[in-house]
Subunit: 260 residues, 3 copies
């Protein structure tokens, strides 16, 4: 830190089991990755190459190398997994993971319909090869999953071998965990938390108001995902109570006095 | 491509007659242009220096050189053309095009009222000097042009020598082709397409939902414009059915089977 | 300028007493600062390191050096001042300003409640050390300050030694000067201007429509703040009547004629 402030909430340090910031890279150039890491690398725990952007970006191998050198794990977005399996190319996907020396992979069903037992079998298979992150929730705003079902799915996926489960919101933050307006489905989130340990969940929260909402609910060390690269520093200040939005939240109960 | 997926829609290759992505540069630095081209150059067909931003950016000649070296045509936004002609400086504008060795120019009337025959005469004159792109539609949300008139204007401008016509939406995507909410004027667009070949039209579509809407209506190789530099890779995945939004659209009718 | 256009409004030149563009840097990397300055440095008068982002960015000293070399003053966002004084660490804050050789500082009460006489005393103290900019208005959308009170606060702070006063809007532009929708509180702004010289006020105006609104009300040389780095060039075109939004505003009354 550049200077010392009293009463700043304590943050987990890397490698963090909780308080994770998962960043979405949706097509950064090599220099942009370097810029991003130079300022926000310490506050970034894991990077997702959004959906199937890795199919069209020409800089894939070099980009993976830079993230690797910075000690930051990377994985391909779940839509890429779905694009392979819907075409009957699961083994090709496994070869792609090997070819690019990936150590993490996402298993999701946001764009396809798949029997949940089969999804869990994919998790089990991939868990032998890499660390699996699995995602629950549909990208289709019309598909509303009731809370008990979210819990059932999350439990089964963690048992099948997922390291963590991601709660879906898309890049835009208006499906899954959120209403079309971006407002969090509070009842859903609270019910999930009665059954699943919060360290096991990464909440996709691309909008600032959503990040603030989760930090107020679960504290500085909540796991948040789909953070845009330029928003990692702002999010870190939200976690520390150093932005207007959470400024007073973290001061409550302290015996403070403003004086010259 | 970094790996092989079956059943991915075929994209035109450069130089593309259709399936064009027109990008708006509204003041990138030299390094930012280089970053952008390093990752999205292959998916960018033509670049517009938005409205009259070229008047205030200090890096104009160098920027043009970099785009030229990458084989990507560049043109000044139509508002610059309008700024010159409204001041009676058309010949000055022609000299500016020569001075900067421009090979394309836009003719538009988004901010001014001009007799259409005179607009077509400007197109004819400039077409002797450069490749002309002309724009139809007002930047003023109160000026609603009925569909038959859009068609009449587009036809006359193509006959006057425009290489392609651009359908107006602004940087924000809430006028011209779209309602104030950003929703496409479907009836307008469908009626235009009964009379004007789609290869001749570049649809301004700055918002993701608008891009998705056009790809679903007209396929992977629709011409789209006013794309932000950082959105070229995401758009390319939309064109290929590799983002949630168009994922199922391109799989319909294929006999696919998810299996381990 | 890259070419000559007649009838372009005259802009103040640096160092500007009015027509100031205050930019918000919310965590740029060193290269991003260099990119930004290379294209927009001439149009940037002062930079704010947003709220307490300086606490978490690892590049602080180097960043300050680059801005200094470019001749652009920098200051820490007011939330950082508030974070220090709410913890009883005002003297620590003064030492931080010295350590980083800051020449400007912001005094604000956007996130805290503080007796106004005490706020003015902070201004008086800091004005002995640096050039003080003070901010009026709450970040809390529920706290509506009536116009006469804005005027009273601004007057007292200018008398206490503020170089300029900033009218609050946040990074998002939906509090203070604006309604929740982002629409300017016109009556408030007009009443303030009956009592406070406009050169003494920097209006936070992060949204394009807000910038356009102020340029139309107060002309090219209005002081505007919380401008995103990538929006400095676009704003400059708005100030000059070279973007659709203000194109006709600056041509009114001129005797112009469109001709070939």
């Amino acid at each position: 830190m550049n200077y010392t402030l009293k009463h700043v909430p304590e943050r987990e340090i890397k490698p963090r089991g909780k308080g994770i910031t998962m960043v979405m890279d949706k097509g950064l150039s090599i220099n942009e990755v370097e810029n991003f890491l130079s300022v926000a690398g310490d506050h970034t725990d894991i990077v997702k190459l959004g959906w199937a952007t890795s199919f069209v970006t020409p800089n894939l191998a070099e980009k993976l190398k830079i993230y690797r050198q910075a000690g930051i794990p990377v994985y391909f977005g779940g839509t890429l997994f779905e694009a392979f399996i819907v075409r009957g190319q699961f083994e090709d996907y496994q070869r792609v993971l090997d070819k690019f020396e990936m150590e993490h992979a996402e298993v999701s069903d946001g764009s396809i319909t798949i029997d949940h037992e089969l999804k869990c079998e994919f998790i089990r298979r991939l868990a032998k090869q890499v660390t699996v992150i699995s995602e629950v929730g549909s990208k289709d705003e019309a598909k509303i999953i009731p809370p008990y079902k979210w819990i059932q799915l999350m439990k089964a996926e963690l048992e099948a071998g997922s390291w963590k489960v991601i709660a879906e919101a898309r890049e835009s933050g208006n499906v899954g965990l959120y209403r079309g307006t971006g407002e969090p489905r509070m009842g859903l989130i609270e019910e999930i938390l009665t059954q699943i340990p919060q360290e096991k969940i990464i909440w996709e929260a691309p909008q600032k108001a959503q990040q603030v909402w989760f930090v107020k609910l679960l504290g500085s060390n909540v796991n948040l995902g789909n953070i845009a690269p330029a928003e990692v520093i702002p999010l870190e200040t939200v976690r520390l109570g150093l932005r207007g939005d959470t400024f007073n939240h973290f001061l409550n109960g302290l015996d403070l006095d403003i004086k010259l």
